[in-house]
């Protein structure tokens, strides 16, 4: 469904991605592991069209999306939960959610359905729907960021370190929602530092180092191969 092939990306003059190839099938949960600064986040930004790749191709359902306007991927069904969460701080919780709902071609009843669905999984958002996004706690903001992505009715969600800095109780809530999304048939590309969580929820895993994919295979193989984990992730 989503396929990156030999993608090269630059920030200014620094070469960040040196030919990354990644594939995610429909409904599949795929982990992307690696230390800080190896290009995981840049990979997601490249998929979203927020940075332009200088070479290679990014395809979604067979269409080349690399050169598209940055607001187009969302309409095709790619949702993005960035590392810094990037809540619209001065918008209320409900307005944050509506940024993803008010697209052309979504009926009122479907909008309500999506909202109710999100409120069901994150009841705290219902309670705080009229509160400014910036006033939420870190964990609540992460919930909101994921709920906001769900408003796009996506085929795939790109999750960038969703558990970073969260309390264990929040982490298990994130784990829970990943399972829910997976059961609902949504594919997930999960960037994480949390290796146990990633190995638990993903079916396949890519490991990156210095802008290239060093290892990739089914999660089961990786679990059996602790040496690889140690070599690239230092755990």
């Amino acid at each position: 469904m989503l396929a990156l092939e030999n993608v090269h990306t630059y920030y200014g003059k620094s070469h960040i991605l040196h030919g990354v190839s990644i594939e995610v099938g429909p409904g599949e949960v795929v982990g992307l592991l690696g230390r800080n600064g190896v290009g995981k986040s840049t990979t997601l930004k490249t998929i979203m069209g927020l940075v332009r790749p200088s070479g290679g191709s990014v395809r979604f359902e067979g269409r080349d999306i690399a050169g598209m306007a940055p607001h187009r991927p969302a309409h095709l069904g790619i949702a993005y939960v960035p590392e810094e969460r990037r809540i619209f701080r001065l918008l209320s919780v409900l307005e944050n959610l509506r940024t993803g709902l008010d697209r052309p071609g979504v009926s009122e009843s479907r909008k309500n359905e999506l909202l109710e669905n999100a409120y069901e999984h994150f009841p705290v958002l219902r309670d705080r729907r009229n509160q400014a996004g910036g006033t939420l706690s870190g964990g609540e903001q992460q919930m909101l960021a994921i709920a906001r992505a769900m408003m796009l009715d996506p085929k795939i969600i790109l999750l960038d370190e969703p558990t970073e800095g969260l309390m264990p109780r929040m982490v298990s809530q994130i784990r829970e929602i990943i399972h829910v999304l997976h059961r609902g048939g949504v594919a997930i590309l999960l960037v994480e530092q949390n290796v146990p969580l990633t190995l638990e929820v993903s079916s396949r895993v890519y490991i990156m180092e210095k802008g290239v994919v060093r290892h990739h295979g089914p999660t089961a193989d990786l679990r059996a191969n602790q040496a690889v984990i140690h070599q690239y992730l230092g755990v």
Partner: protein
């Protein structure tokens, strides 16, 4: 020298009316700045073009209100076009480049107006001619209507931004352009529309001002300067602040013109600007940042 009380009261009314027209100009300017970080040096020229377009439309249709609508729509389109062609390439560059680019645009617009409408002033015929007694003066109802209309348009802008889908889009794009795009909001389109709205508010001020002061091709610079003063005094990008500052500045100028010539009264507003920058650089009507 004692100034009679009735004169002070008349100047108060004048100051309020002028203040509301200025507030309408400044709201458009502050909207464009708050949302896109663009300092629009051509804003006064849009007021002027609005006035001339209104004058032409009035001559053709004979209706002031139709002329107002025509001018607003024409200048909104022009504004959106300017944003899409000249300003979009500058997104992400040094903010100084937008000052320079809009300055260049202002030169073109002003001379275009001179070419199209000539150097003489056009006075628009006011749509209502009634008057009421304000002491020894017959005060025109039109002036009061102008203030109310300006307030109405600004109120509509506020509601538009506060509620409704496009208001959310605009505010989301202001706070985080990148994330707004990732949520599927067409930010370049939003920017063009916002510039169009700001331009159309300038045009409305130009038409409303037409019967009061007349429209000349040189009026733009004056409006630009005064709107800038107001926006800085009120706090950059702060809608409520600009409105209060417009009224404050206009009242001060109105009172000052009781004692000195109108040309010198302008200096009063300059002094307010300079004092504000000295003591409250974030603006008079903004809570002091903690």
């Amino acid at each position: 020298m004692a100034i009679p009380f009735d004169q002070i009261l008349i100047q108060t009314v004048n100051g309020l009316v002028n203040g509301m027209i200025l507030a309408l100009v400044a709201s458009g300017l502050t909207l464009i700045f708050g949302i896109m970080d663009i300092v629009n040096f051509a804003h006064g020229e849009l007021v002027m073009l609005g006035g001339f377009t209104g004058a032409t439309a009035l001559a053709v249709t004979g209706s002031f209100w139709l002329a107002l609508v025509a001018a607003v729509l024409t200048i909104a389109l022009l504004g959106a076009l300017l944003q899409a062609t000249a300003l979009r390439p500058l997104v992400g560059r040094d903010p100084l480049t937008t000052i320079l680019a809009t300055f260049g645009i202002s030169l073109v617009l002003q001379k275009y107006a001179l070419w199209q409408w000539g150097p003489s002033a056009r006075k628009l015929q006011e749509p209502i001619t009634g008057q009421f007694n304000l002491f020894y003066l017959e005060y025109p109802w039109y002036r009061v209507l102008t203030a109310l209309l300006a307030a109405g348009i600004i109120g509509a802008l506020y509601l538009f931004l506060r509620y409704g889908k496009y208001g959310i889009w605009i505010r989301a794009a202001t706070q985080d352009r990148i994330m707004a795009q990732a949520m599927g909001i067409p930010v370049p389109l939003v920017h063009a529309v916002v510039f169009g709205i700001g331009a159309s508010m300038a045009a409305a001020s130009g038409v409303l001002f037409g019967p009061l002061g007349g429209v000349t091709q040189t009026m733009g610079a004056d409006f630009t300067l005064r709107a800038f003063i107001v926006v800085v005094v009120g706090g950059m990008g702060n809608l409520g602040g600009s409105i209060l500052a417009s009224i404050l500045i206009s009242l001060i100028e109105a009172y000052a013109s009781l004692v000195v010539s109108p040309a010198q009264a302008v200096i009063a507003s300059f002094v307010v600007l300079i004092l504000t920058q000295l003591f409250r650089p974030t603006g008079l009507f903004v809570p002091t940042p903690k």
